[in-house]
Every structure is written in structure tokens, then in C-alpha cells.
């Protein structure tokens, strides 16, 4: 029987909150990559409008972490868990912001009068980013360091696709120079997707720390 019931209940409640937030953010990112394809106006608005929920939750989770640290002074795996939550919480919130940014870029592109709205097919890059995010979050949920390590490999593919997007946008800009804003927003989609991949990698690094107690930095 655990002897610190209150403390361990607090940790479990915190874990549940983090998982709720994780699910919310994963849903936002899936919607964001959908609107890159569909330009669905209602979905774009709903992504932008609902961001406050994630922001509020981030603050709540951070407050919980600080309270638990002050009151219970955790050590060993409990300490590593709290440190991981504090850092992952921040990464998740920023991923939520990236989903909003994608929605805003799509909104600008949709309203453009350019005949060439799509400079690059983002479906493959989106798929890789979603896979990385899902793997990092699954690794976090299951505390699976081996899965976390696999994420590092996919990141290379995402970076390659971002470079291809850049080349495609530069080419389109020379072909359709009358709508540079539309093209720049097209490239920003690649940047936002890449940043989500970076943050998924950061989460994977934190999972390795949580499980193994070793600080790993890929870059």
C-alpha cells in the first residue's frame, strides 16, 4: 500500500489533466492539417476560437505542478514526472498555438484572389507531423522511451519536405509574382508544421528523461 495517498492522488489527477490537454491539442492539429486541404472556413474559425481552452489548461497544469512541488517535495521518478509535465505542458501549449497559426495562414490563403493558392502539396508532410506528434504523445502516455527514440528519425523527413516546400514556393513566386502574400503564407504552413515536429521531438526527449533519468538532446 502506498503511504502517501494524498500526494499520489495529486500526481494521478495531474496526469489525467495532462492527458486531457494532450488529447485536445492532438485534435486541434488534426483539424489544422485538414483545413490545409479543405480550406473549411467554419473549421478554421473553430480552431482559432477554441485556443483559449488550451491556454487556460496550461496555466492550471503549471499551477498544479508548482503546488505539488512546494507541498510534497517529490524525488526520484515523481520528481522526474513533475519536471516532465512542466516542460511538456509548455510544448503542448505551443503546439496548440501552431495549430492556430496554420488556421490563420489558411484563412489568409483562402481570401487571396490568386489563381494559384496551393504552391505545395502538404499531405505527406502533414502525415509525418501527425505521426510524430501521435508517437511522442503515445510514448508519454505509455512511458515508452524506445518509441520516443524512433521519433528522431521521422524529423529528418519533415525537414526535407520543408526544404522542398521552400523551393516550390520560390518557384511559384517567380511564376505568379502578383500575389506574394499568398505564397509567403503558403511557405509559413511548412514552417508551422516543422515547428510542431520540433516540439514533438522535444516531448520525446522529455519522455526519455522521465523513463531513464538521462537528459538527451538531439540538436
Amino acid at each position: 500500500m502506498p503511504v502517501h495517498h494524498t500526494f499520489h492522488n495529486e500526481l494521478e489527477k495531474l496526469n489525467q489533466k495532462l492527458l486531457t490537454m494532450v488529447a485536445m491539442v492532438e485534435d486541434r492539429v488534426r483539424k489544422a492539417v485538414t483545413v490545409i486541404e479543405t480550406h473549411d472556413e467554419e473549421l478554421v474559425k473553430s480552431i482559432i476560437r477554441s485556443d483559449y481552452q488550451i491556454d487556460d489548461m496550461e496555466v492550471e497544469i503549471e499551477e498544479d505542478c508548482l503546488k505539488i512541488m512546494a507541498l510534497h517535495q517529490p524525488v526520484a521518478s515523481d520528481l522526474r514526472f513533475l519536471i516532465t509535465v512542466i516542460k511538456v505542458n509548455n510544448e503542448i501549449e505551443r503546439i496548440g498555438d501552431m495549430a492556430v497559426n496554420i488556421a490563420k495562414r489558411v484563412d489568409v490563403i483562402s481570401q487571396s484572389t490568386s489563381v494559384m493558392k496551393g504552391a505545395f502539396d502538404y499531405s505527406e508532410m502533414s502525415e509525418h507531423v501527425i505521426t510524430m506528434l501521435k508517437m511522442s504523445l503515445d510514448a508519454l502516455v505509455h512511458r515508452d522511451a524506445a518509441m520516443a527514440r524512433q521519433i528522431f528519425l521521422i524529423e529528418d523527413k519533415v525537414n526535407t519536405l520543408r526544404n522542398q516546400a521552400y523551393d516550390a514556393v520560390v518557384k511559384m513566386l517567380s511564376l505568379y509574382p502578383e500575389h506574394p502574400g499568398c505564397m509567403i503564407n503558403n511557405y509559413l504552413l511548412a514552417r508551422h508544421l516543422e515547428r510542431i515536429a520540433d516540439r514533438a521531438t522535444n516531448i520525446a526527449e522529455e519522455v526519455i528523461y522521465l523513463v531513464e533519468g538521462e537528459i538527451v538532446r538531439l540538436r
Binding site: 524525488v75 528522431f152 529528418d156 523513463v211
Partner: protein, 280 residues
């Protein structure tokens, strides 16, 4: 091999130890004390099971573990305090600077001067503050005259961080001091006979947080001159004051390691369970 390949090639080996042999780093270079295959019996009951550990010079090593794990019993082996307990038998090899402390030629009185002890409850003699500190140097013949004795008393009280508080009332009884002051008086008493090792058996458990903080500061200063072995039930205290931590469980020494490592990433499942409160 690229950075990514290196990270990927690492095998996930974070399976915590579950066997009962000691994990971590129980041995040090140039130790002050060595303990090998130490067993302690109370009658037929084995209280300490084959413990191997070194005590380093100028280190504070904390011994932690649940009640009845044997940490205080082991502490008392280090200056043969268990000799005073009827039915208690100690086997194994315990050495102080290479000297076998169980050798038949070893007199426990000078041994206990070299390996001093501070107890859970402050226990000043019913004598003056001065005499409490002067008693040891007198019986060990450390002072040739009154001036030398005065100097030892003053130096010891200064090292124990008590001098400024008592210098004007050295003739008053030691028992009249506050709990924290009494404990520092006991530390001064141990220091006065020039020990090499100071054993502390829960020295702050009867003290309030302020008095505890003063003792902990004092422990950090005393480390410059002595080896300190502290038994504590407070894991925060172990984390604050020690460089190494040893975890005992049912008479076994389970894990020894650098304190920061033990409290962030213990190697043994039992250590992890105990320090995170999941044990029991």
C-alpha cells in the same frame, strides 16, 4: 556514428534492480573507514546482513531506510557501541585508517574519541557548559594545563557554532540551554577530543526547524575536518546535508550512491519505492 544514430542505438535499460545485493558505489578511494562483510545479530536474529561499505574522508554520508532496517544498528558498529548491548554480536571486518577496530588490543574508550557520536536526544552531562566540553580532553589527557584546556573548550564551542551564545555563561549548567543549543554542546563535546569520524543518530529529530537548520549548516562546516555518518528519517535532510546516501532495507544495504543521483534517479526498485513513499 551520427548523434541520431547514437541515441537510437542506446538500449532502453532502465529496468530497476530488484535483487538484494548492494547497487551503486559503496567503495571509495582512500577511505577513512572500511566495513567488509559486516553482520550483526541480536541473539539468534540477524539485524545486519553482510554489509560492505567505505566511509570517505571529509564526506557526509546519510543512512536512510524504514524503521527497523538496521541503519542505527550499523552506525553503532562503527565505534563499537553495540558492545554495550547484551546479546548483540558483530562479525566482519571494520577498520579505521586500516586499524581493525575489533582487534583485542583496541581500547574502546580512545576508539570512541576517534569515532565520536551524537545522539537523537541531546544528552549533556549534568555539569557546567565548560565541563561538558572539557570532560573528554581531561580524561584523554589532551591538555597539559588549564590554558590549553580553555583553548580546546573555546575552539570546540566555536566549531560547534555555540561560542558566541555561551561564552559569558560557561559555568552555568549545560542542561539549561535550549534543545538546539544542547545538541550543539554535544557536538562540541564530540569535537573536543579531536575525532576523525562523527556518527550522528537522528541528531535533529528533537529539534525545531530553525535549530535543525543550524545543525545542518554546522554539519556542512564540520565536513571540512571530519567524516560524518548521519542516520536520519528525514529524506529532505539526507538530501540537504550529505554527499552520498546509503539505503538500508531489512538489514541489507540496498543502494549507495551520490545523493543527487539517488534522489533523482535511484537504481534499485526498493530505494525508488521508499523515497517516493510507495513502500509498505
Amino acid at each position: 556514428m551520427s548523434g541520431k544514430e547514437e541515441i537510437l542505438s542506446e538500449v532502453t535499460t532502465k529496468a530497476l534492480h530488484k535483487e538484494r545485493e548492494t547497487v551503486g558505489s559503496p567503495f571509495v578511494e582512500n577511505p577513512r573507514m572500511t566495513c567488509r562483510e559486516v553482520n550483526v545479530y541480536y541473539g539468534d536474529k540477524k539485524a545486519i546482513n553482510n554489509v560492505n561499505i567505505d566511509i570517505a574522508r571529509n564526506e557526509v554520508i546519510a543512512m536512510i531506510g524504514p524503521s527497523g532496517c538496521g541503519k542505527s544498528t550499523f552506525l553503532r558498529c562503527l565505534n563499537r557501541m553495540n558492545d554495550t548491548i547484551e546479546g548483540c554480536r558483530v562479525t566482519g571486518d571494520l577498520r579505521l585508517d586500516g586499524m581493525d577496530i575489533h582487534d583485542k588490543n583496541v581500547d574502546v574508550v580512545p576508539l570512541r574519541a576517534r569515532v565520536g557520536m551524537v545522539f537523537q536526544k541531546p544528552n549533556p552531562f549534568p555539569k557546567s557548559i565548560f565541563d561538558n566540553v572539557a570532560y573528554g580532553p581531561k580524561i584523554h589527557g589532551l591538555a597539559q594545563n588549564k590554558a590549553e584546556l580553555d583553548e580546546i573548550v573555546e575552539r570546540s564551542l566555536k566549531k560547534a557554532g555555540l561560542w558566541d551564545e555561551v561564552k559569558d555563561r560557561l559555568t552555568q549548567p549545560g542542561t539549561g540551554l535550549s534543545g538546539g543549543q544542547q545538541q550543539r554542546l554535544c557536538i562540541a563535546r564530540a569535537i573536543a577530543v579531536s575525532p576523525e569520524v562523527i556518527l550522528m543518530d537522528e541528531p535533529c529529530s528533537a529539534l525545531d526547524p530553525i535549530a535543525t537548520a543550524r545543525i545542518e549548516e554546522l554539519i556542512a562546516e564540520l565536513r571540512q575536518h571530519y567524516s560524518i555518518v548521519i542516520v536520519t528519517h528525514s529524506m529532505q535532510q539526507a538530501a540537504r546535508v550529505s554527499q552520498r546516501t546509503a539505503y538500508f532495507h531489512l538489514g541489507d544495504l540496498i543502494e549507495v550512491g551520490m545523493t543527487d543521483r539517488v534522489f533523482t534517479n535511484p537504481r534499485h526498485q526498493l530505494t525508488e519505492d521508499y523515497i517516493t513513499g510507495r513502500f509498505g
